[in-house]
Amino acid sequence: MTEVLSRQKMTRRELLARSVAAGATFVVGSGFVGAQNAAWAMEVKHLQPGTMATLIQMARDIYPHDHVADEFYAAAVKGYDAEDKAEMVESGIAGLNAAAQGAGFGDYLNAGWERDRVDILRGMEKSAFFQTVRGGLVTGLYNQKAVWPLFGYEGESYSKGGYIDRGFDDVNWI
């Protein structure tokens, strides 16, 4: 995984002690977002931790793969934690939360069903913010080498001599 996402030296108890819950999925504390079970945590410098948590959830709702863990989505949107992007993201996520409130939820993360969150996203599908996040994910998520094996994709093959002796024609059900 990317360096910045490396597991912080924090025990689960410390993590929970320092954090406030953000929906069911993430814990956020001052300057970080992490998994409930402390499997990963990510430092944030320019965004509010709650904003990053919401962005990660939004990323998953746009491209949901149940067999792909949150840390890959976190890695995909990590680049938004930058000085020149923070304002755009904060206001985009504020808009998302406002839309969630309009739909009767406390905020986006509090909409428990994916269906409800997707409805909220559909309502802002044409916005520049949504399109920026979606467009960025196409490479941000699917071009992570660590994600490829989760889809069976084997990547580079030249160094292994190609597939001539490694199953280029091994389909056996035809």
Binding site: N143, E156, G161, G162, Y163, I164, F168, D169, I174
Partner: protein, 523 residues
Amino acid sequence: MAAPFDLNDDSVVVVIGTGAGGGVLANELAQKGVSVVALEAGGRYLPDDYINDEWESFGQLAWLDARTTSGDWRVARDFSGLPTWIVKAVGGATVHWAGASLRFQDHEWKAATTYGPVQGASLLDWPIDAAEMDPWYTKAEDKLGVTRTGGREGLPGNNNFKVLEAGAKALGYKDVHTGRMAINSAENDGRAACQQVGFCFQGCKFGAKWSSAYADIPRGEATGNLEVRERAHVLKIEHNDAGQVTGVLYADADGNQQLQKARVVCVAGNSIESPRLLLNSASNMFPDGLANSSGQVGRNYMRHMTGSVYAVFDKPVRMWRGTTMAGIITDESRHDPSRGFVGGYEMETLSIGLPFMAAFLDPGGWGREFTTALDGYENMAGMWLVGEDMPQETNRITLNHEVKDQYGLPAPNVHFDDHPNDIAMRNHAYKQGSAIYDAVGATRVFPTPPYPSTHNLGTNRMSENPRDGVVNKWGQTHDVSNLFVSDGSQFTTGAAENPTLTIVALAIRQADHIAGQMNAGNL
């Protein structure tokens, strides 16, 4: 005189671009003892440099200069700044290409006569025919080492092919095989046999696939008659008061402008850049652009009717293993208007990796409909649909004066509207492609929209009558006798087949003609 040549040497033939057309022409001329300076906008990358990684390779090789789009084609919406997928490097798009190497069918040289009038289409017969092209095709097949021609074996079928073949047979298709490919099935011409790496689009690291980058160019250079200047981007073609071209202005690797004099200039910058260069070379004498008295420069842009069908099965296919495009069904390439359209199409195996699949399967798509498709990636098979599209005068490359490239020159705008014939053909092809996979148990099929154009054709078309096109049967411009067009932009019509074998055959033939005319003192 031997290479390198002086900027003031006005005895040289200048070739602009080193792809399928320019790379072959430059070598063929050099073999005949003609002094050639080839100017190539991109850098030089060889098999060791190629990268087995889709986006990284794209960043290394793709042409990413400013371009704009318009028209009703879906590419204009999905990839508005990237109308084409082609290469800026020595070797041009032959570094990227998949190697499918098919001859035109005889009747396709005479589309206007064969199809009759088609409303809205500017169909025209080529001023050459199948009999004339036959020997040049044979030379091209031998140069490229095309499988299933000249006694060369076919490639073995990979997983993706096996699925296609089984489906095709179930549907009763007859002509199904692993293709005529410019990929070695056995060592050939000093290049290795295919190792089934599966990154043909990213440049073949074994050199098993023919590319002018490492086949023709070094051979031409070895004669001492060819100098290739890389990172030399041609900005303008110059002419004298007699209306003959005299040289070309280019920006060198350091961004300095240089003027290379020339006896003959051959334009081979691909069907977007070639007409753009002619338009950007407008002068007092030629206010509408060079060689454009007909007003046809940039018009009749063709990109083939394309589309893909991917399908998911209940068991693994792993289509990415092995050659990207070694599989074809040719039964639908015939001209049979009873299907509701003129011309025909080919169905060819195609695999793209997960990163490109995410970008191209359904551009703009999101949510579970999209992601469950990618979840099936390992169980996916895929094919590309490629057929003849109708030339239309209004599909054209123009100069966009609002957008400038890195040299301050107007960027090309690529305008394309699908012709009703293109749409009818695509729908037919989607239906047949889906039926093929359904016949072998697909659980879901995806009729996938066209990618940015890889086959760019027709914007300086060949015509008998100077009124109808830009170049004559030799690729010589009707207006300027020492100015030639040597790439896919010469195409009068596109035919159903992948174009490169024809571009190469035309380049070999043109080299013969130019050398002959120089010897005879006519050039």
